[in-house]
């Protein structure tokens, strides 16, 4: 937490009232939504703002000279400024809007990787990564003849930084890709330390902050990274919007990714030149309303206070781990609460995670079951899947109690 004083507690009932989904009943009960790490619910502030935008300010951006175009451009560029402030970035030139978190990472893999990588180079990802920060690097390494290396973890699911020495012997380290918080088991990775190690080797660091940005205050300078990716739909924003932050010098020097309208300076049969930042990386009509909606979500989060959200989730995580420790046959994966985000992944000896999630659903408890797009991590633990509960600002201890009650139901069926 970035402040010295303990943040004051959230007024969760008031927050829940902002989210229409909690007014509905599922199997007769209020929804215990414990799947925000997958995608979050949306507050009225965002939904109403979106409708209003479409009704009164919608047109394409940048190109239009008329009044609606001015409003739309101001809304879109205003959102970019909000994201800049959120990340503590120097300039809106460093903020690129993408389709989702995955595309932000692919942008770097393609635009930087395809041109920069070659035989003898090593690209590093980790065993804990989401596939979206693993497969792009594996793929461009293969395409370019570079080597792909996977940094491993220990039994608790914490990265084993000592392996970096061995990896370094395999070639010239060019880039290290790692997440700030693991989406499948919740580990908070030592990003600053890894970025410093990479910088010493003149390698770039790409940080996947998709699971961190919704839940804690970030500052790109402090992270020491070169690129940071986030995604809107996990942080109260609409689907269809992601963000890549990158250091200006790097983005300026890079080849473009998607090609087409808006990202060019001039086009002719012989030669085409690129537009300035960030437009160079935003080909075609951008996700206009989605960027605006993400800006509204940032307002909402900032208003509640990311420090307070982090503290609230930490409290729920501690409570959930205590409770799960008492549940028969349940094993929780991953590190202790001090080094984890608001994510608790577990297995239960009598039932497959999918069946667990199904029975929890019949109790009005929504969790995710599966490999969470982290198959290497699952393989590391020697399991095909887990059941995962994840917390956000609208969750309560009662939601955790509902989870435990549902697990008792699982045991009743399968035990």
């Amino acid at each position: 937490m970035s402040s010295l004083t303990t943040p004051t507690a959230l007024d969760v009932p008031r927050i829940r009232a902002d989210f229409p989904v909690f007014e509905e009943r599922f199997n007769g009960r209020e929804l215990a939504f414990l799947d925000s790490a997958n995608s979050s619910q949306k507050p009225r502030h965002v939904l109403e703002g979106l409708t209003e935008f479409y009704e009164h300010s919608y047109s394409n951006v940048h190109r239009a000279v008329y009044e609606l175009g001015e409003r739309a451009t101001a809304a879109y560029e205003g959102a970019r400024e909000k994201v800049r402030v959120l990340l503590g970035a120097d300039s809106t030139r460093e903020i690129v809007f993408t389709r989702n978190g995955t595309e932000a990472l692919n942008l770097v893999a393609y635009a930087w990787g395809l041109s920069e990588l070659g035989p003898g180079d090593v690209v590093v990802s980790t065993v804990l990564e989401h596939h979206s920060n693993f497969v792009p690097w594996q793929y461009v390494a293969k395409r370019s003849g570079a080597e792909f290396a996977m940094l491993g973890a220990d039994a608790a699911g914490e990265l084993d930084l000592e392996q970096l020495d061995e990896i370094e012997r395999r070639g010239r380290i060019r880039l290290v890709a790692l997440g700030l918080i693991s989406n499948s088991i919740g580990t908070v990775n030592p990003v600053e330390e890894v970025a410093a190690w990479a910088r010493e080797r003149e390698a770039l660091t790409v940080v996947d902050a998709c699971q961190a940005a919704p839940h804690r205050q970030l500052d790109v300078a402090t992270l020491g990274a070169d690129f940071v990716a986030l995604t809107g739909h996990k942080m109260l924003g609409p689907s269809g919007i992601g963000v890549l932050w990158g250091r200006q010098e790097l983005l300026s020097a890079m080849e473009p990714f998607n090609l087409g309208g808006e990202m060019i300076r001039s086009v002719s049969e012989r030669e085409t030149t690129w537009n300035e930042l960030p437009n160079k990386f935003e080909a075609g009509t951008p996700p206009i309303a989605q960027a605006y909606g993400l800006g509204l979500a940032v307002d909402y989060l900032t208003n509640v206070g990311l420090d307070r959200i982090e503290a609230h989730e930490h409290d729920l995580t501690v409570y959930a781990m205590e409770q799960l420790a008492t549940a028969e046959g349940v094993s929780v994966l991953g590190p202790p609460p001090e080094r984890r985000g608001g994510i608790v992944s577990f297995t239960i000896d009598c039932a497959h995670p999918h069946d667990v999630a199904q029975i929890l659903d019949s109790h009005g408890v929504a969790v995710r079951a599966g490999h969470h797009c982290t198959q290497p991590a699952m393989e590391h633990f020697g399991i095909p899947a887990t059941t995962r509960a994840s917390f956000y600002l609208y969750n309560t201890r009662e939601d955790v109690d509902r989870l435990l009650e549902g697990l008792a139901g699982v045991r009743a069926t399968f035990g």
Binding site: H352, H354, D355, I359, D361, S362, G370, P384, A385
Partner: protein, 138 residues
Amino acid sequence: MSDLYRELILDHYKNPRNHGELDPCDAHAQGQNPLCGDDVSITMNFSGDDVSEIRFTGRGCAISQAAASMLMELVEGKTVAEVAELPKEELLDEIGVPLAKNPARLKCALLSLGVVKLALHRARGTALPEEWAGFEER
């Protein structure tokens, strides 16, 4: 308790029928559900036009494994032509729980049937019917 887990399902899950592997075998295929990692492998022997023997192994959720077990009982002794035509609905009826609304679970339930179709398709060189298009890409 969830409707999905009625007695019969749990029985097949805990006591799978025709579990195992035929070696040698006349037809074989394997399939996964990329969503949840369910995995089913099926071996068959033919005798004339009939599927004389069929066995499965696999791992995954109760629905996928119970469905595979039930499918064994449905298929064994049928003609190859009958099995090739066996509609999804027949297996779903057998399972007897409401899955239509849930495409994720539907994939679990139908995994083994897809694997059987794929095994026949490979052994006999027939085309995979349109409704299973893409199955071999798994």
